[in-house]
């Protein structure tokens, strides 16, 4: 019996050594350790043994089983490892081959800038509101204190639908709508399409975009206006930007100013684009809301004051992206849009 067990062990270990794959290993396991396997057969014959022999043989049989199982598991894991390694090797790819691109669309640069501007002000506590593209002469001119004879009212400057209805020439009528609807205090910005009687050329378009801001509260001063514009310019173009408030004239603000900012090309050093001045001219117009405008909207200028500002979104988009022809903004060439 002892020899039989020894033989089984030697044969089994030998077979394991000879085996070359997992299937053969499995066959070996069945052959020796299976229900009808050789070791099992031997153990079944244990009943015939004497009381003394039984534990000895039993122990030996267990040792043989452990040895075979141990070896089987060892070789099995070797095979698995080898197989994995072979697979990894076989699966090698050319990682420099192009990726499978998914198409992502592009924002229009103008509308992207418009939204960025709105968001800057929204983060400063301004509500973003909108107004119609077609407006009344009252909201677009009269209520904004525009003189009755002002050339901007001419048919050669403004598109009219009727004598009293026009395509708004600026976003300022939104101010009138807001002041008539809301009770102060409030802070709003409004951006959108505006229209002027300009033929299309490199820098002009009969349709363009403005952003308008309005703050009305008690004790609002020109110092608040300066601070708000400064913050906005720094947020938009960077902390090193400087502003310059030049007195100017708009019918709807008093005092009025035009704002120059550090030249966006040279950041104020002076270059050919700013004619050596270091300033980018007339980026923004602003001022304290004219008392006539407040009165026209039912707000008492003795109690409330406010400021308003307006800027050209198209110009900022063009400066920001280095676009030199406004026509590109409205042509919608995909090769242009795909750059943004």
């Amino acid at each position: 019996m002892k020899e039989k067990l020894q033989n089984i062990m030697e044969n089994a270990l030998d077979a394991i050594k000879q085996s070359s794959n997992l299937e053969e290993l499995d066959n070996i396991r069945v052959k020796y350790l299976g229900k009808k396997g050789e070791l099992t057969q031997v153990l079944r014959g244990m009943g015939k043994l004497s009381k003394e022999e039984r534990p000895v043989i039993g122990q030996l049989a267990n040792e043989v089983r452990e040895a075979i199982e141990g070896q089987l598991n060892q070789v099995k894991s070797d095979f698995k490892e080898a197989k994995k390694k072979a697979r990894l090797k076989a699966e090698k790819i050319d990682i420099s081959m192009p990726g499978k691109t998914k198409v992502i669309g592009h924002r229009h640069p103008l509308l992207k800038v418009k939204e960025e501007l709105e968001n800057v002000f929204m983060n400063m506590g301004f509500d973003v509101v909108e107004g119609p593209e077609i407006e009344t002469v009252h909201n677009n001119f009269d209520a904004l204190n525009s003189p009755e004879n002002h050339p901007s009212r001419d048919l050669s400057d403004t598109f009219y639908i009727t004598d009293n209805i026009l395509l708004r020439t600026h976003t300022s009528p939104v101010q009138i709508r807001v002041m008539k609807q809301r009770k102060p205090p409030f802070k709003i910005v409004s951006a959108g399409r505006t229209f002027r009687f300009d033929d299309v050329d490199d820098t002009h378009s009969p349709m363009f975009h403005q952003l308008e801001g309005l703050v009305i509260d008690k004790n609002i001063t020109i110092a608040n206006l300066k601070h708000t514009i400064d913050m906005f310019i720094k947020e938009l173009f960077g902390e090193d930007m400087k502003t310059r408030f030049r007195p100017h004239h708009f019918p709807f603000t008093e005092p009025s100013a035009e704002v120059d900012v550090s030249c966006l090309k040279c950041r104020g050093e002076g270059c050919t684009s700013c004619h050596g001045t270091g300033w980018d001219m007339e980026l923004l117009g602003c001022g304290m809301v004219h008392p006539n405008v407040l009165r026209n909207c039912g707000i008492d200028p003795e109690e409330y004051s406010g400021f308003a500002f307006g800027l050209g979104v198209d110009r900022i988009a063009m400066v920001k992206y280095g676009i030199n022809n406004i026509r590109l903004l409205f042509e919608n060439d995909m090769r242009f849009l795909n750059q943004f």
Binding site: P247, P255, M334, N338
Partner: protein
């Protein structure tokens, strides 16, 4: 407004301030400097010399030898000039001089005679040809009088000058003059202003001996007409100083009379006109509207047709000037002119502007009048002209004037509260400082209790109320000196409207799905409605029309975004772009009444347009994905066969809960042909207001399923025309709440499928929220579904 700095200096002392500082400070007080032109012709070492002696050259007939006194020494200079005489004062280029044409003067010998310099012509000194009097064009420039010998010729002839170009805002016509800008300068630099003293030395006769009266028939268009007469006129070129000043200010010199009227216009801001009195028929001037048939040849030799909206100056027979715009050739001052009538009038700004525009003729005069001038300036300016004519000896002033001036402009008085100034500007300025600033600006101020009483002169028509005075103080104080202060008060959180947030969401989703955002004009050509084949009675042809469009292409407001989209896609196709997927969010416009009486309705609209590697189901998938993200599901697609812009077999209206969201489909081949498009285009146009109503951006967590889902596949053979939507409705309706999802995974026609039929394969997912479903439980739902499909759609189960 071109301001020669030297001219400015005549009225305000700016010593110690260089041009750059002057320009910067005026810019910061509201007179924006557009540009600075420094004129330096490069004349060096040229001085005044006097010709002492001229003798002939021993070796040359065409040369002479001169002795020139240049103060410190006497020079021998050989010249070929023929227009010189002993005693003339001339420009002398010394040895070592440089001239604008690059010439350098050296000691030389001409035919054996040494020469120590050169006598100069005007041209050699770089003087613009326009400024040179005919007689002085050829030969040496003979100075007009005796100047100190040896003096630098640049000073004598004013060859160096600085001209500043200011941008004058339309509210400040008073600054369209040297005196006006001198006043600004005085206030900005806190210096004294010295206005020209107007005084006529000698007046003879009386004006009514020369003029049979002036009649103003339209006082609204001509608030004031002031005139004087000057006789014994000697029309000739103006002296150099006058021509030079005009030229620097951008006005071409013509003759002494015209030049003086222009000079005074630039100096004081009042346009003036001189008529040849001999050519005024009846010696009577009438200011009236033109008649429809009248014509006038203006000074620029163009014949112009007038109409009854235009104001003219007329004699007894005909118009002799277009009021405030340009004089007529028929009464022009010429060399024969002996007596002139000087007009210094005030015309209505709007009338001048409209006339100037209608005639296509904008002049220095009209651009001043159209901004509204001070009617109290007219007499002063007219007298100034008389004074200057007298000064240069060009005529004798006739005593008296004719002044038609009924409604006299009056000064306003405004109370200014100093605390309002300090509050609005956030500064701390004493009342007397405010008064000083206002006084420098000509706004006479005095203390009136707590307040300042300001008398506003008529030349400052823009100053109407306290706020205007606050601005005056603020800009002279300097906005740059006011430190920025943050807004205080209620902290508010900025918000966007829900509608805007939905738009922003849509933009993000569509960009994420591969579409490019576009933006197109709100106005289109009415022809686009033909191009997209809209029938005559279509509601989309009820458009809002622009009264004065830039051209037909921009003449009506769009009622749909589809034509713009087609335009953009086609343009890209023509640029050889192989794929264009795009969307636009914009307004369409519908009149609330025809004709338009009130503001039209503006409807936010989304248009998606695609060509290149797409079909109907791609665009539908994009719309569905987008709507799902907006919380809109279960929308229905109803076949639309009558929207002629679209393919009748490939178009649907998208609806939900009785709302029509919009239309989706393939563009009709006829329309594509109209656009010259060779590829199929797919378009969806959706109403963002309806989407706004239906959308729901709120999200609530729904518990994840605890029990597994089990799916069953079925393949059906049924009539080809049955819509999958009808199959799916039967599955859902019979699903007994256990159907979780339906997925169409195959549609097949062809082999093994009978003619007129199709095979449709679905995978149906079943799940219960309470337990794991058994085969029997699934069968209890699945079998009735199959049965219902058979009964309702005559569908057969395919093995």
């Amino acid at each position: 407004m071109l301001i020669p700095v030297k001219w400015l200096k005549e009225y305000v002392n700016i010593d110690g301030i260089d041009t750059k500082e002057l320009a910067d400070r005026l810019t910061m007080s509201g007179s924006h400097v557009d540009s600075i032109e420094e004129i330096d012709k490069g004349v060096n070492n040229v001085v005044v010399g006097k010709i002492e002696k001229i003798v002939s050259h021993p070796n040359a007939d065409k040369l002479v030898i001169t002795t020139i006194d240049v103060g410190e020494e006497k020079l021998q200079i050989v010249t070929g000039a023929t227009n010189i005489n002993e005693g003339d004062y001339v420009p002398v280029a010394l040895v070592g001089a440089k001239l604008p044409n690059g010439m350098k003067i050296k000691k030389s010998k001409l035919r054996g005679e040494p020469s120590f310099g050169m006598l100069c012509s005007a041209e050699e000194l770089g003087i613009d040809e326009g400024l040179i009097i005919k007689e002085l064009k050829n030969g040496i420039y003979i100075l007009d009088k005796e100047y100190p010998l040896g003096q630098d010729i640049k000073e004598v002839m004013g060859l160096n000058s600085v001209v500043i170009d200011f941008e004058i805002t339309p509210n400040r016509p008073d600054c369209l003059s040297i005196v006006g800008m001198a006043r600004e300068t005085a206030a900005t630099l806190n210096r004294d202003l010295e206005c020209p003293q107007i005084k006529i030395e000698n007046e003879v006769d009386q004006i009514d001996q020369y003029v049979n009266g002036i009649e103003v028939k339209d006082e609204e268009l001509c608030p004031r007409y002031y005139a004087r007469v000057v006789k014994d006129i000697d029309v000739k070129p103006s002296p150099l100083w006058l021509r030079r000043k005009l030229a620097e200010a951008g006005v071409r010199p013509i003759n002494n009379i015209v030049d003086i009227t222009n000079y005074v216009m630039i100096e004081l801001g009042q346009p003036l006109h001189a008529f040849d009195l001999e050519n005024i028929k009846g010696k009577k001037v009438t200011v009236r509207r033109a008649t429809g048939s009248e014509k006038i040849e203006t000074l620029d030799d163009v014949e112009r047709e007038l109409n009854d909206s235009m104001l003219v100056i007329a004699d007894n027979e005909k118009p002799i000037a277009v009021a405030g715009v340009m004089g007529g050739a028929n009464s022009e001052v010429s060399e024969e002119t002996k007596t002139i009538l000087i007009e210094s009038a005030n015309f209505n700004g709007r009338s001048v502007r409209l006339t100037s525009r209608a005639l296509g003729l904008r002049t220095d005069a009209s651009s001043r009048y159209e901004k509204g001038l001070d009617s109290n300036l007219a007499n002063e300016a007219c007298n100034r002209v008389c004074q200057l004519i007298e000064e240069i000896g060009a005529g004798t002033v006739v005593a008296g004037n004719i002044d038609i001036y009924k409604s006299v402009a009056k000064e306003k008085v405004i109370d200014l509260r100093p605390f309002r100034v300090n509050n609005m500007l956030d500064i701390d300025l004493a009342a007397d400082q405010m008064m000083e600033t206002l006084n420098r600006l000509g706004l006479e101020s005095k203390v009136n209790g707590e307040n300042i009483e300001v008398t506003v002169p008529t030349f400052r028509q823009d100053v109407e109320q306290e706020a205007d005075l606050i601005e005056e103080i603020g800009r002279i104080y300097g906005f740059d000196k006011i430190p920025p202060v943050p807004l205080v008060g209620t902290l508010t959180k900025g918000e966007k409207s829900t509608a805007r947030r939905i738009e922003d969401n849509i933009t993000d989703i569509l960009v994420g799905l591969g579409l490019n955002e576009i933006t197109t004009y709100s106005f289109v050509s009415p022809k686009v409605y033909d191009k997209v084949n809209l029938p005559k009675g279509s509601l989309k042809r009820q458009y809002v029309e622009i009264m004065n469009p830039l051209g037909e292409d921009f003449s009506v407001m769009r009622t749909t975004l589809v034509p713009n989209m087609l335009e953009v896609l086609t343009r890209n196709y023509k640029y050889d772009v192989d794929r264009a997927w795009a969307f636009e969010i914009g307004n369409i416009f519908r009149p609330t009444s025809v004709p338009v009486k009130s503001l039209p309705y503006e409807n936010k609209t989304l248009c998606i347009g695609m060509y290149g590697k797409v079909d109907y189901f791609d665009i539908k998938g994009i719309v569905d994905s987008m709507l799902k993200r907006l919380g809109i599901t279960n929308q229905e697609y109803l076949r639309e066969e009558n929207y002629v812009t679209f393919h009748p077999g490939r178009t649907a209206n998208i609806t939900k809960n009785n709302h029509v969201l919009g239309t989706i489909g393939e563009v009709h081949p006829d329309v594509l042909e109209n656009y010259g498009m060779k590829e199929r285009i797919y378009i969806a146009e959706l109403d963002l207001e309806i989407i706004g109503i239906l959308s729901n951006l709120e999200r609530k967590y729904k518990e994840l399923p605890k029990y597994p889902a089990i799916s069953r596949d079925i393949a059906l053979v049924l009539d080809k025309d049955i819509l999958v939507k009808d199959i799916e409705k039967i599955i859902w309706d019979n699903g007994n709440k256990l159907v979780e999802g339906i997925e169409l995974f195959d549609i097949y026609t062809g082999d093994q499928i009978p003619e007129g039929k199709k095979s449709v394969a679905y995978s149906i997912t079943y799940r219960s929220l309470d337990k794991t479903l058994t085969d029997e439980e699934i069968a209890k739902v699945h079998d009735p579904i199959v049965k219902a499909l058979k009964e309702n759609l005559n569908a057969e189960l395919r093995a």
